[in-house]
Symmetry: C2
Subunit: 257 residues, 2 copies
């Protein structure tokens, strides 16, 4: 199967480049297009048996609807988006090709995919799935397969809630008007770890985090539960009731005995 | 000065033990008392030139008021509490001794104090401060000196806000009813880091974190700002407006250009 060509739309971005490098190291021809360079979508669809859409979430459906109809039935269409339900629905509706949704559960800063998790949602066809599993497993990735809906639910916690949590803390620090250098002098190791995460979210592609949050299908419920938790804690802090506060933590612990 | 004796009330607890070990390695006699063992407070005050109160925040003032009046003018009274204004006020009011407030900015799990920060609030007297600075510096600690009020303000961000942030996220995860093992399979590296912090707060001495939050003099204002941030983000998620969400993040960033 070494004579197949892979096209990555958005393959000049961080995550696309990781996969382009991986396919090239495996000896495949890999065409890559960025916003302003590389082959156009028609050329990609003509020359490639496998197309991977790796563009920002907000324009993923649009790109899928352009490339999907140009693909053949025995081709493979995949995406790398942090959400799976909507992109997979768009791939199934717009294209006759086989469809697999992918979500690499790591950032573009990793040296290789070895030891990292890739979530796979097989959606149509049996021809390509073994090839996809094989190539990622060979490079040391941990594969988990699930439905798009279950993926999106778990990711609403792993990503949307997590980033929302970092952003609220960052906004309070900013609203307080404290000097970052002074804050760092007084930091505990735990605070330093949190601050590094908050910095990553605020400075390294805030648009991605904003899209993960605003487009999450469960964000309404998450913010509702978040507000409710805050309000319960507020009541106990107003009463300065450390005992009831501790009891609440023990009752709401994920590690409850 | 090697013939001085140091008494640590609460010295059988994690943090007290770190300091007891350090003083003993320096050749000092170190008496240690726990809730149910070791010399009583009167014996401690009679035999020791230096007393360190290392008990939970909630009973710190009470213990200070017991030991403080029994101490001599040329003795040294210190505490290790996460708050400084109230304990230092209690030490100054109840005792004729010299007073220094200490706050080690690390947890009891560290192997040694080397490389970690200790915050020092000198409050009364000149006799002991050089000795205190000398012994911690010799063991590699980074010392920062400030006023109790400034300490408590910065710690309301470094500790109270930080732990509140971890607890709200933990409560939402728990309320969602997700299985911890499944969540871990889908975790990103960033989520794993957050989850480790949340686990630490919920399982390793939740009472301490509850006291840091409920007794923080700035917690009211922190929760107000926290709720306001959440409410601003909620509005933008309801509108699914990733662009305005990104713009808000850039406006409220600590790393604003």
């Amino acid at each position: 199967m070494k004579d197949i060509s892979i096209g990555i739309i958005g393959g000049t971005g961080g995550m696309g480049r990781i996969f382009a490098d991986l396919f090239r190291r495996e000896g495949y021809i890999c065409l890559v297009s960025g916003r302003k360079r590389g082959p156009d979508i028609t050329t990609m669809a003509e020359q490639c048996q496998v197309i991977i859409v790796s563009v920002p979430i907000g324009i993923t459906a649009e790109v899928i609807e352009q490339v999907g109809p140009l693909m053949k039935k025995d081709a493979l269409l995949m995406d790398l988006t942090s959400l799976k339900t909507e992109p997979i629905k768009a791939m199934l509706q717009s294209s006759p090709a086989e469809v697999i949704g992918l979500h690499p559960l790591f950032g573009p800063g990793v040296a290789s995919i070895a030891g990292y998790t890739i979530c796979i949602c097989p959606a149509r066809g049996e021809r390509w799935i073994a090839w996809v599993r094989g190539i990622f497993t060979k490079h040391g990735a941990i594969l988990i397969e699930t439905t798009p809906e279950r993926h999106d639910e778990l990711m609403s916690l792993v990503q949307a809630l997590n980033h929302l949590n970092s952003i609220t803390m960052g906004m309070v620090l900013s609203a307080w008007g404290v000097d970052l250098a002074e804050l760092r002098r007084f930091a505990t190791p735990m605070f330093n770890t949190k601050l590094a995460i908050i910095k990553e979210v605020f400075t390294n592609n805030p648009r991605l985090y904003a899209e993960i949050i605003t487009l999450s299908p469960h964000i309404g419920r998450i913010i509702e539960l978040y507000g409710r938790a805050l309000s319960e804690l507020e009541t106990l802090t107003k009463e300065r009731d450390a005992e009831a506060f501790t009891a609440l933590m023990e009752k709401r612990s994920l590690w409850r005995a």
